[in-house]
């Protein structure tokens, strides 16, 4: 009952591989965190997450605000009803700054992208995100683990047992895989190959993202891949420094989103957009269409629930998205009443 009086904030991070939900209390402590597989169905994952939160916390907390981040942040904001929608880079930086206030460099490897964030005097000073290639991200590791028939949780441990890592060409995930297969056929041990892979990914990460920039301690490593001891060891070797892995390393995006929601709701008296835990029972469908009204030929995405268009996006002129915004506000306020 204590929590209900103080109020809590929800953060949701819909990524390509995982969908994470975090509930924090007024002081920014995590009450509940969920790490779910997106499995290509973000709406289903979100509904599962919300209903799980409903079971564990539904009666005892009062959600005062919600924030969304991740590549599916716009979808999350419509489906769950969020007060703030922010990109992953900002969310990750805020979360890291909260847990490790003196952090200078944030290493983050997610499902489909990797980022490096430079922090100076508590402000994001610069950042980089992989541009033309997604080699060296969570999905690739997942796939290699599956191919070698090793559970992803133990994948990194194997790397630590290597005595002489092989060198893997890590520029592109597809070529890295064929190089790995080649090394396998040549008779190298699985441990040496996994260790070589970890080193290749780290080398690729540093070469692509940190080019020409100053890497200063302390380093914080977050994202699902931070659980991989092999990658952590490879980072420590490459950077010749200690790597800090924060407490909530796997749900930092959602944590950051929750912190931002809290910040926003505390600034002014807003009425939250959060649709309540009931949304797990609502049906959502997504439709896409091409708008042929001008030469841009934009691909539109519409989110529909009970025959009402909650939101649409993808248009450059704002004709459709503006329409969607109005109806979304109406339907969300209806849902709240």
């Amino acid at each position: 009952m204590h929590l209900k009086e103080k109020g809590c904030y929800l953060g949701i991070d819909v990524g390509s591989v995982s969908t994470n939900l975090v509930v924090i209390d007024d002081d920014g402590f995590v009450i509940e965190k969920l790490y779910l597989k997106t499995g290509g169905q973000p709406i289903k994952a979100m509904r599962t997450g919300i209903s799980m939160l409903n079971e564990s916390l539904g009666k005892s907390v009062n959600i005062l605000g919600a924030g969304a981040t991740g590549s599916g942040r716009h979808l999350a904001s419509v489906v769950v009803g969020c007060d703030i929608v922010k990109n992953e880079i900002t969310s990750h930086a805020i979360a890291a700054l909260k847990l490790v206030p003196n952090v200078k460099t944030i290493l983050e490897i997610g499902g489909q992208d990797s980022k490096i964030i430079f922090v100076r005097n508590g402000v994001v000073y610069d950042f980089a995100m992989n541009t033309v290639c997604a080699a060296g991200t969570g999905s690739f590791l997942d796939r290699q683990a599956a191919r070698l028939d090793i559970p992803i949780e133990e994948f990194g441990k194997h790397a630590l047992n290597s005595s002489s890592p092989v060198r893997i060409a890590g520029r592109c995930a597809v070529f890295a895989e064929s190089d790995m297969i080649h090394k396998q056929q040549a008779g190298h041990s699985v441990e040496d190959i996994i260790c070589g892979l970890c080193e290749a990914l780290v080398r690729n990460y540093i070469n692509n993202l940190a080019k020409g920039k100053e890497l200063l301690e302390p380093f914080v490593f977050q994202g699902g891949v931070a659980a991989n001891q092999g990658i952590v060891a490879a980072f420590e070797k490459e950077l010749n420094a200690k790597i800090i892995i924060p407490q909530y390393y796997d749900v930092m995006g959602a944590y950051g989103a929750a912190l931002m929601a809290k910040e926003k709701m505390c600034q002014k008296e807003y009425k939250t957009n959060f649709g309540g835990f009931d949304i797990s029972k609502k049906e959502f469908t997504v439709a896409s269409m091409e708008c042929n009204d001008c030469s841009n030929v934009c691909e539109l995405i519409k989110i529909i629930s009970n025959d009402t268009v909650l939101a649409s996006w993808g248009d450059r002129c704002g004709k459709w998205s503006a329409e969607g915004k109005e109806s979304a506000q109406i339907s969300i306020s209806n849902a709240a009443n």
């Binding site: 590549s71 990109n87 805020i94 030469s295």
Partner: protein, 371 residues
């Protein structure tokens, strides 16, 4: 002869004005879109840069509309662009597309070739008429750039969001129906007056971002995913020093007459890049330094994947970033660019700039507000 020419941002406006004045029948291809890029990607070598691919798409679309000749500019800079008209000619003839490619090149010594080309386009050599048309073209291109600069100023300050975009977009479409430089100039003035009527917040001090990089991708809104309008609608004032009129005046006319243009950027770039290495890399470096000295909040560099001059600039920019403490973000574009990832970077960059300004405003103490 039905002449067509490739799109590059607003270049079509001055070029149309010139061809109208010269009495040449011209066909303007549809504005750059997915279709044009798809056609170009199919025809062009895989590693050719985005501008070449879109150009090819433009030509094929114009051909379908009835065009039979192409007007291109050449160049002798070390960037691959100088060779593009030859590439276009070869690719189109391989495809069995029967189009004549006319290259307007800056003459070294051989003025005859240029004159022959001009004669071919205009169907005669009335020097007085041509000089008048050139003068009007320069005026139109200057006016177009001024109009664009005005949208950069008004967009972040407008009170009703989207007002600038609406007027500007309808201007870009309606100009296609207007003939002759005189009418085009009038039309630009009309659009300018309409823009000036937009209600703005006069007190606002928007975040200022400079846009540098390769000329095609910075000038063409389709290729850079409308970055100027997006930044503007987020309340950011953008400045882009490399423009169409600058290119026509400095690179075509002044070079042909051996006159000197505005070269402040060269002086500014000196400590980092002392010589012209092709493309617009020296401009990119020099203008970034000038922006930093001018107190801008950030710089965005845009270039197509594989653009050699800009890759050189990209590797120099971190030292400017360090020396002047100005954030610089590089965006690389090709037909594989995913819009979602691109927008994530732009959004994060905006957050970064806003946050830095907030910290400055509170003398380094800063308050946490990310909204």
């Amino acid at each position: 002869m039905k002449l067509t020419f490739p799109h590059m941002g607003n270049t079509y406006i001055p070029v149309k004005a010139m061809l109208d004045d010269l009495g040449v029948n011209c066909i303007i291809p549809p504005f750059n879109n997915k279709k044009a890029l798809e056609i170009g990607t199919k025809l062009a070598p895989e590693l050719a840069c985005l501008p070449l691919k879109i150009n090819l798409g433009n030509f094929i679309q114009a051909y379908e509309m009835g065009a039979d000749s192409i007007l291109m500019t050449g160049g002798c800079g070390p960037c691959r662009f100088g060779y593009y008209c030859e590439m276009h000619r070869e690719i189109l003839s391989d495809m069995g597309v029967d189009m004549k490619v006319i290259t307007l090149d800056i003459p070294g010594n051989d003025y005859n070739k240029l004159l022959n080309n001009v004669r071919e386009i205009t169907g005669g050599l009335n020097i007085y008429k041509i000089l008048k048309a050139v003068k009007n073209t320069v005026e139109v291109s200057k006016k177009v750039d001024e109009l664009e600069r005005l949208t950069f100023k008004i967009r972040p300050r407008e009170i009703h969001k989207g007002a600038t975009d609406k007027i500007y977009r309808s201007f870009l479409y309606s100009i296609l129906k207007i003939k002759g430089s005189r009418n085009i100039k009038k039309h630009i003035d009309k659009a300018r007056n309409k823009l000036l009527e937009i209600q703005t917040d006069k007190e606002m001090k928007p975040i200022r971002v400079g846009i540098v990089g390769e000329i095609y991708t910075t000038n063409d809104p389709y290729s850079n995913l409308y970055i100027e309008s997006r930044l503007g609608n987020e309340g950011i004032e953008v400045t882009r020093p490399v423009t169409v009129s600058g290119w026509i005046i400095d690179h075509m006319i002044k070079k042909a007459l051996h006159l000197k243009g505005d070269e402040r950027y060269k002086e500014a770039a000196k400590p980092y890049l002392g010589t012209m290495i092709g493309g617009h890399s020296q401009e990119t470096i020099g203008n970034t330094v000038l922006f930093a000295k001018d107190g801008y909040d950030g710089v965005v560099q845009i270039f197509p994947l594989g653009c050699m001059p800009e890759i050189v600039s990209e590797s120099i920019l971190p030292s400017i970033e360090r020396d002047f403490k100005i954030p610089v973000m590089s965006l690389i574009i090709d037909e594989m660019t995913g819009e979602a990832g691109y927008m994530t970077r732009v959004e994060a960059f905006i957050d970064l700039l806003k946050r830095r300004r907030e910290i400055d405003a509170f003398e380094g103490k800063g308050m946490l507000s990310w909204n």
